[in-house]
Amino acid sequence: MPYIKEERKETISVEGDWDIGGSTTWKDSTLLQGYAQGLKEKRIIGSLCPGCGKVIVPPRNICGRCHRKMDEKVVVSDIGTVTCFVISAPFAKGKMQVLGMDPVETGLVGEGERVISVYVKLDGADSNIDTELIGAKPEEVYVGMRVKAVWAKERQGKLSDLEAVEPLRD
């Protein structure tokens, strides 16, 4: 090993758990619920700032820049541009757990698959959404790539209705 290693005495440990689970009550976001409802109709909703004219997707109620209320909702395109991307290391069984589940074991990703996570600026929006890019190999993705939304077949008014984005091919 190239790193300098150092031996140190280990004293015994006292163990304990913090149960932060149980049932927790959260104030629900009507804004995000409204956004999710829009997805059912393949409408991606953002909010328009009357001060700076920026459109933020998903909507928010106060502009972070000019602190004006953003009551007006607008619909943006489901086509947009990749502004940034990150590619996961190949997934493998037993390598990682998310919410106590193994993504490979549950069949969500294949053994050795690399997931491409992208930030997309939808046409008509000024902010990015984060989603997954499918239908493209890791070496094919680039900043500026045009992509379009992939919709769930049966949409239920949930965030999962907007499944991912895929390269826009004409």
Binding site: R8, T11, W18, R65, V86, P103, S117, N128, K158, D161
Partner: protein
């Protein structure tokens, strides 16, 4: 407002597992080292500021346990927690305590003991940062696959991945430059006896051989989770001049929040209008702190920088935000060796956060390391030039909060 100086510094050895001590003993070690360095008795200290990343290490009110271990029994103790920038804010709080005239001598101490947490992700701590937003999204039918793609590498590393990609795209730099930063920091750390990841003679090629975490990051790019603590003694001008041969003056400071680039901000909303590499909070903090310090041209007047860089791209981004290099050129300076320990603008001669990350302590260590450079006490990692002014950063909150501190060998 009174002038305030750092008159003593103390640290513990940082490593992955400080199982030889408990939390109070570890923090006590750092404080006692600082008091000894400053030649100040605990009875002389008027007030304490303390902090670590909220929830990490599983001690809810650590200041209550620590009190009589750090000399704070019966004295005012203020706890500050701003995520990764905690240490910077703890030091700034101690500055306010003395500058205001309320207290003459204050001790600032910050720490983290990651190994006390069973999960590497320090579940409770991260819950403080992101749980509300995530639950909100799950309520609205977030798919597991989406959650998975959001958490490719998790936590701050996930944000930093995007940050690195944005920066590389904008500046024209490449993954090779991340290798170069990480290798430099591990080499520097090998000269710092308190540092964690010490790799003498580490080369960019060594880093490039490590496995991918998520493109563009390899294992070799990413900071460790360290156990350790650091502490400083701050004093007003009269006492500093009497007690210390070479007091280090806190000349300027500021801490700004850059709300616009938060991921999953209000209502799990967008990634914001600004990209993650813009870090306007750093620019705003730097402008304010330099103005207070009377620094007009940081490229000429700053001699060394200690930048909070758990991920190597951040050293480049923040160096530019601090005005040490022109926009988009820090990587060219890196190529020329200007950020090396013996370069024109040494960045993180201590190895920085990239080599040692006891989260709460990390931002305080940046200020402490600047102080050591100005005092000339950095031993093996002392930069081989005169140091008059130095700048330190901290990065934290929900990745949006920046604390900048400017230090100098004279208060003016």
């Amino acid at each position: 407002m009174r002038n305030v100086a750092i008159i003593g510094c103390g640290q513990t050895k940082h490593s992955a597992r400080r199982r030889d001590v408990n939390l109070a003993e570890m923090v006590g070690d750092a404080v006692w080292n600082a008091l000894e360095d400053a030649q100040v008795t605990p009875q002389e200290v008027d007030a304490f500021t303390v902090g670590n990343m909220q929830g990490f290490g599983g001690v809810a009110q650590p200041e209550q346990w620590l009190g009589d271990w750090i000399g704070a029994a019966g004295k005012p103790v203020l706890r500050v927690a701003t995520g990764g920038s905690t240490g910077g804010c703890v030091a700034q709080a101690a500055f306010y305590a003395v500058a205001s005239g309320l207290y003459d001598i204050a001790v600032a101490t910050a720490w983290e003991k990651h190994s006390d947490s069973k999960e590497p992700g320090a579940t409770t701590g991260l819950s403080h940062v992101a749980l509300g937003n995530t639950i909100n999204m799950i309520n609205c039918g977030l798919s597991f696959k989406h959650l998975l793609s959001m958490t490719l590498v998790g936590a701050a590393a996930g944000v930093a991945c995007y940050q690195a990609m944005y920066y590389m795209y904008r500046s024209g730099s490449r993954v090779e430059h991340l290798d170069m930063v990480a290798a430099k920091d591990r080499r520097n750390a090998a000269k710092n006896k308190y540092a964690h990841l010490q790799w003498p003679g580490c080369t960019p090629e060594d880093i490039a051989k490590t496995e991918w975490v998520a493109y563009p990051f390899r294992y070799g790019h990413i900071c460790p989770a360290s156990d350790g603590a650091s502490a400083m003694v701050l004093a007003c001008e009269d006492i500093a001049r009497k007690r210390c041969k070479k007091p280090v003056w806190i000349k300027g400071l500021a801490a700004y929040s850059d709300e616009e680039n938060q991921i999953m901000s209000e209502g799990a909303g967008g990634i914001g209008i600004l990209d993650a590499s813009q870090q306007i909070g750093a620019t705003m903090s730097a402008i304010k702190a330099y103005r207070m310090a009377g620094i007009r041209d940081p490229q000429k007047e700053i001699d060394v920088a200690e930048i909070y860089q758990p991920f190597p791209n951040q050293e480049l981004i923040f160096a530019e935000r601090l005005g040490l290099f022109d926009e988009g050129t820090a990587w060219r300076a890196l190529e020329k060796g200007e950020t090396d320990i013996n370069g024109r603008m040494p960045c993180d001669p201590s190895g920085g956060v990239n080599a040692t990350n006891a989260i709460g302590s990390s931002a305080l260590q940046r200020i402490l390391e600047c102080a050591l450079q100005i005092m000339g006490k950095a031993e093996e990692h002392q930069v081989p030039k005169e140091v008059h002014n130095a700048v330190a950063t901290g990065w934290g909150g929900a990745t949006n909060y920046i604390a900048v501190t400017v230090l100098g060998d004279s208060p003016y």
